[in-house]
Amino acid sequence: MSRAKIVESADAAVAGIEDGSTVLVGGFGLAGMPFDLIDALIRQGAKDLTIVSNNAGNGDVGLAALLAAGRVRKVLCSFPRQADSWVFDDLYRAGKIELEVVPQGNLAERMRAAGAGIGAFYCPTAVGTPLAEGKEVREIDGRTYLLEYPIKGDYALIGAHAADTLGNLVYRKTARNFGPVMATAATTTIVQVEQVVEAGELDPEAVVTPSIYVDRIVQVTARHYTVQGAR
């Protein structure tokens, strides 16, 4: 028994996500994207969502499908515009979705801060650029920094490679990306994995996300989409 619950279906995994929630969605492009959880979230019907993710959807799958379903009020991301981000592009140009662009490293560090109980931090990224507008500036030891605040999620939806029955996670290659950080930054972390193994089968030295950060796990069949997009 542990607190992380292994559920039978992606639909069970996303049950209870409320309208208006902030949802952290893993993936860098399609690598690490929790396709099954997003499809289940579309079926589940929660709307007026704020999505935090590196991109704003690729092609017509995953996050792009959630956007196309009209469930997203606002996107915080580093790189919405890609070769295959037509769903987002159209919504944005039609004024149907809000966008907050956050430098990629700040996106990651602000979520880490949320997970680590840091109230705010001084960051050198974006100093002197349009993205510094409205931010508090401070000079420390001769370098200029901006004050950045945590980004906390009500839910995180992430993809990992394997979980053990306690909820410890390992990832595969660069599909790791935002998953471990988002898992720490959300009140409820929901994970899709390709396999579930017994506690003790993962090398304790190689666990990337300890079980304490994981609430619900669902095993899904591996689905791989063609990687595309300018970036």
């Binding site: 690598a31 140009r93 490293g105 660069t174 471990p180 950080v181 990687v227 300018a230």
Partner: protein, 215 residues
């Protein structure tokens, strides 16, 4: 001033070879999306240069082909790549801590404009219909010990992209130290611009077209 006249401006491949030659052996390097990725093909065997990709990997290998393509293994441009012996994976916060903390030796980026003082503009043209998208550009701009830019020196309409002051929205302030272009190589920074090499153009004419005061 080291001026190496050639009969013609360099192709982007030739320029990539020039940059590869200038990267010290054993360096940790991030190559930006687009043209800079070509540099990897020109690094000499045994250079010991270790490539970083912002999406969480050190010791990235060449582009993956055929069966080697793995959707879980891509570079920052989301192109499938391979891993070299001694690779390491890490999550995004760790990857950007590595950049922001100044641990990379060299980062090579593309640019819309670079100013004589090293200001960089490479993320948005600021046009009203341009969807803003910054990715890791601002993190990379301030994250490496040396930030190089690789670009064509002139726009299609003949305007220089190495400028006294950027007119496009900035990516980073005073962050670029060297600019590699098809027409020449320049040092930029707090002391202003200096021509290091020229290709297919006379240094005097280059200075004239870019508004550079020769010493």
């Amino acid at each position: 001033m080291t001026t190496a006249y050639t009969d013609h401006r360099l192709s982007m491949d030739e320029l990539a070879a020039v940059i590869a030659r200038d990267i010290p052996a054993g360096s940790f390097v991030n190559l930006g999306i687009g043209q800079p990725t070509k540099i990897a093909d020109h690094l000499p065997a045994g250079s010991g240069v270790v490539l970083h990709t912002e999406n969480g990997m050190l010791n990235m290998g060449p582009k993956a082909e055929g069966d080697a393509i793995d959707p879980d293994l891509t570079n920052a441009g989301k192109v499938p790549v391979t891993e070299l012996p001694g690779a390491a994976y890490f999550h995004h916060a760790d990857s950007f801590a590595m950049m922001r903390g100044g641990h990379l030796d060299v980062c090579v980026l593309g640019a819309y404009q670079v100013a004589f003082n090293g200001d960089l503009a490479n993320w948005t043209t600021g046009k009203p219909d341009d969807i803003p998208a910054v990715g890791g550009a601002m993190d990379l701009a301030i994250g490496a010990k040396d930030v190089y830019v690789m670009m064509t020196l002139f726009t299609r309409t003949g305007e220089p992209k190495l400028v006294p002051r950027c007119t496009y929205p900035l990516t980073g302030v005073g962050c670029v130290s060297r600019v590699y272009t098809d027409h020449g190589v320049f040092d930029v920074g707090p002391d202003g611009v200096r021509i290091r090499e020229t290709y297919g153009i006379d240094a005097g004419e280059l200075a004239h077209r870019c508004g550079i005061t020769l010493p």
